[in-house]
Symmetry: C2
Subunit: 240 residues, 2 copies
DNA sequence: CCAAAAGTGTTAACCCTACACCCATGT
DNA sequence: ACATGGGTGTAGGGTTAACACTTTTGG
């Protein structure tokens, strides 16, 4: 880490001084999960001003000794006790006025986690999952960040099987299909969908809950090895 | 713009003081162009330390009153006198050690410009186009940024007809095809390529240089209106 | 018993791929 | 005349899209 910045004694209000104009860097996370029914985003209720008591994306200041990725993972853990299966950076938001306190440039991520109930961690008094189509008003420009994240997730799905990071180890074909439909925003034919998934050959063979032949779906699991192999080959025709 | 930072008198070495740990923000541009033969990237030779005389991506510090996008466009103009047809943010590089002077977080962009010879602008003594497969060593982590930009350009081509921003108003089918091949990294069949382009219906009807029936290619131009229309419909099957 | 969910196959249209020959020009 | 580059069409294979009925279970 470089040291051309200068620190006053601890506790001083303006503790950090520099030669060039600077900005505080935050990492914010749009954390998606899927409960089998809705695509969800985790929000925390802000404990301090500005936007006190407003819902916001979890996130916080990046420390001098960490990358934005490290900062994002740390904040994620601190605020929500979650660890992401997958994280991807999306475009930074840098409007000079976006934070009323000072210039804050945020590097947002979308993060995918397997669904679990949450309670807030350190910084955040309250944390709650919201279906993506029932989002409350958000602090700062977090609404824009959220919208960008939804788009990024959609784009990402063309190249990566990100759905599997949102599903539990074992899942059913209808669950998988609903998830695709939620992310991409349109419906598929059940038979065609299952056929496509089978020809991709990234699912392990189904398990039938013993005896029950219908009305209860078979469970599949994702075959990561086959996927990596496929990706190396360059044969990633993952379009729907 | 927020004002919680504090300025010493002008010319002071540590002119900017803040409450939170900060970073300087730079915007760097990977500027692509196409001369009909190679996919090119514009590099500038650095005038100052660190990495003096090294080749580097054009870019510089983002000012307090501008967004990173505005900063990128300004630097682009100042250093290279170019304006981009298209710009897209790629992932930020934030390794704390990436700049030996102090923490500098860079927001890189790839920019597409129509080809023209260049001479350096204000900051940069020298500017030169390099074919993407003949890049020299670069300052800082600019090599990694360049590689990321190449990938981002490739991905972008699945969703946007970015090739048209690299080509002159009038271009030939073989030119277009070469460009696709350079970006995506593999060859296409001449006939299939032309057919696909025609079925996409985003090209205006060809112009034959009067009289000459062969050996000189017809020129096409991009029909932006049709593209926008198509995009609205959601029928953007732009895969190769 | 009725509604809701899961399973299953076939056909037609479309798209992608592979492939060969001719013509015009510049050297 | 020969090498280079541009133009053109067709046939086969694969993928996608559209489509309906049966079974089971929970209410």
């Amino acid at each position: 880490m470089a040291h051309s910045f200068y620190k006053f004694r601890k506790g001083e209000v303006y503790a950090h001084c520099y030669k060039h104009p600077q900005a505080a860097i935050t990492a914010d996370c749009v954390i998606f999960s899927y409960d089998g029914k809705d695509l969800l985003v985790l929000l925390v209720r802000r404990g301090q001003e500005p936007f006190k008591d407003c819902w916001a994306l979890p996130g916080g200041f990046v420390r001098p000794e960490e990358t934005v990725e490290e900062g994002a993972r740390r904040e994620l853990l601190e605020e929500t006790s979650l660890t992401a299966e997958y994280m991807e950076q999306i475009r930074v938001f840098s409007n000079p006025d976006r934070d009323p306190r000072q210039r804050v440039v945020t590097v947002p991520f979308f993060a995918l986690v397997k669904h679990s109930p949450v309670t807030g961690g350190d910084d955040a008094a309250e944390a709650k999952w919201f279906p993506v189509d029932q989002m409350p008003d958000l602090a700062f420009d977090h609404k824009d960040i959220f919208l960008e994240a939804k788009e990024a997730l959609k784009r990402s799905l063309y190249f990566n099987p990100v759905t599997f990071d949102l599903l539990p180890e074992k899942f059913t074909m209808p669950q998988l299909q609903r998830l695709y439909e939620l992310i991409l925003g349109h419906k598929f034919d059940r038979r065609n969908f299952a056929r496509k998934m089978n020809t991709l050959e990234i699912l392990d063979s189904p398990e039938r809950p013993s005896g029950t032949p219908s009305r209860i779906a078979s469970t599949f699991s994702f075959n990561r090895d086959k996927w990596y192999y496929m990706k190396k080959d360059g044969s990633t025709n993952f379009e729907f």
